[in-house]
Amino acid sequence: MSEKNGSGSLRLKTGLAEMLKGGVIMDVTNAEQATIAERAGAVAVMALERVPAQIRAEGGVARMASPKKIREIMEAVDIPVMAKCRIGHFAEAQILQALGVDYIDESEVLTPADEAHHVDKHGFTVPFVCGARNLGEALRRIAEGAAMIRTKGEAGTGDVVHAVKHMRQIMQEMRELTVLRDEELYARAKDLQAPYELVRLVAREGKLPVPNFSAGGIATPADASLVMQLGAESVFVGSGIFMQDSSNFAPPEEAERRARAIVRATTHYNDPKVLLEVSEDLVGAMKGLAVAAIAESEMLQKRGW
């Protein structure tokens, strides 16, 4: 692990995540979308070859986006740019670090490259964000060096139901830890399959040692408000802004309106008057795909362990 204050120390890695709090991170597939996202008030963009809804519809092996594409997006905007690598694919992560992206998402949205191991993220200077469905998974990722957790939800659906499920799950498991006796934490760490030191830390603080954001199905201003009220510190919006349905992009003006609305809703998540105002301005949302209609084997959230 990097020394306490050196370049790539955990404080610098989580420090950037602190700056993204209360904001919206948007999936984009080209420079034009990145510019729209920045103009609408995104705090960062996720540079992708295809958004999750397209990946889900088209199938095939989903890999890291082409560096050329990512560079084009990095040159188009002044806000931080993130990019995804496959779970366990440390060579893709090395390429993304050499490219100079600001955050790497080791993501279940791409096809996993390793069935047992995630990337050892301590060895990198660039910070990582990882998905989690429950506290044990979140703490395992943090033990590997993740500087930000995002709940997985079910990406590419526009259905918020599992973003809610996973946020509730993690918040509830953290609350439960805070009332356990010291000696009970050892057994709980075993159940969670997470390092005891991290379990004890959460029990004391009542929260994760890194920021906890929400992702996977957030499509409307009301969805953003919902996950923020449940405890998310920021939101990732994937397909919900730029997609009309799973294969067609929304018109740029409509995407920009949606993006602005979700940005305002995330800041004013506790103010129903503002939420009403921004919701009224919208003409539509992504058609979406109900999570309940997806076969278990097709679920992206099952990837990662």
Binding site: E18, M19, K21, G22, G23, D78, G100, D102, Y103, V263
Partner: protein, 187 residues
């Protein structure tokens, strides 16, 4: 004494904690009219462009009037907002500090760093956390430089307005916030 923290986006909660540790009563400011309730304001780190979008023209105007009348302290994105000239790219601001500031002047996240430098606040060198930090490229005559890192001014003051290009809210050292609260009390 009520101190507002602009809570549109960014690390406002880290500022809230620090100010409360120092005994201030903190109000998280999300609507322009909340500025009428507070005696001073902290503008946190975050994305300065996002702040501007969320403020809108009306919010920016209200904030301009506030910073002319009451003590304000900005860190990183907050310093960018307070400057009267912003480069890379050029963007509007509050024009409360006679400085020229360049966004992302050190580079990307890989160039973020934690450093130490002397200050005029007294005591040991101060730890400074720089995250995708801006650089102050010019300071006007009325601006007092409270700290430099290398040749660059990183902590400055002009009248009731203070700005840091680093994040004192992410260090344990409380001296910078204490100096700001001292400024508020003296008024």
């Amino acid at each position: 004494m009520k101190v507002g923290v602009l809570a549109l986006q960014g690390d406002f909660d880290a500022h809230r904690k620090r100010l409360e540790e120092l005994g201030a009563e903190v109000v998280l400011v999300r609507r322009p009219e909340q500025l009428d309730e507070v005696d001073a304001l902290v503008i946190p780190g975050g994305e300065s462009g996002t702040f501007l979008k969320l403020l809108g023209e009306q919010g920016l105007e209200k904030l301009k009037q506030f910073v002319r009348a009451k003590p304000t302290f900005g860190t990183c994105a907050g310093a960018i907002l307070l400057a009267n000239q912003v480069e890379n790219p050029h963007q509007p601001g509050l024009g409360a500090l006679d400085i020229t500031i360049r966004r992302n002047a050190y580079g990307r996240q890989l160039d973020s760093s934690i450093r130490q430098a002397e200050t005029t606040l007294g005591g040991d060198p101060l730890e400074m956390v720089f995250i995708r930090a801006p650089k102050i490229e010019r300071v006007g005559r009325a601006v007092e430089v409270l700290a430099r890192e290398g040749n660059d001014p990183v902590l400055v003051r002009q009248g009731n307005v203070m700005a840091a290009t680093f994040h004192p809210e992410l260090s344990e050292d409380k001296r910078v916030h204490a100096a700001f609260l001292e400024l508020v009390r003296k008024r």
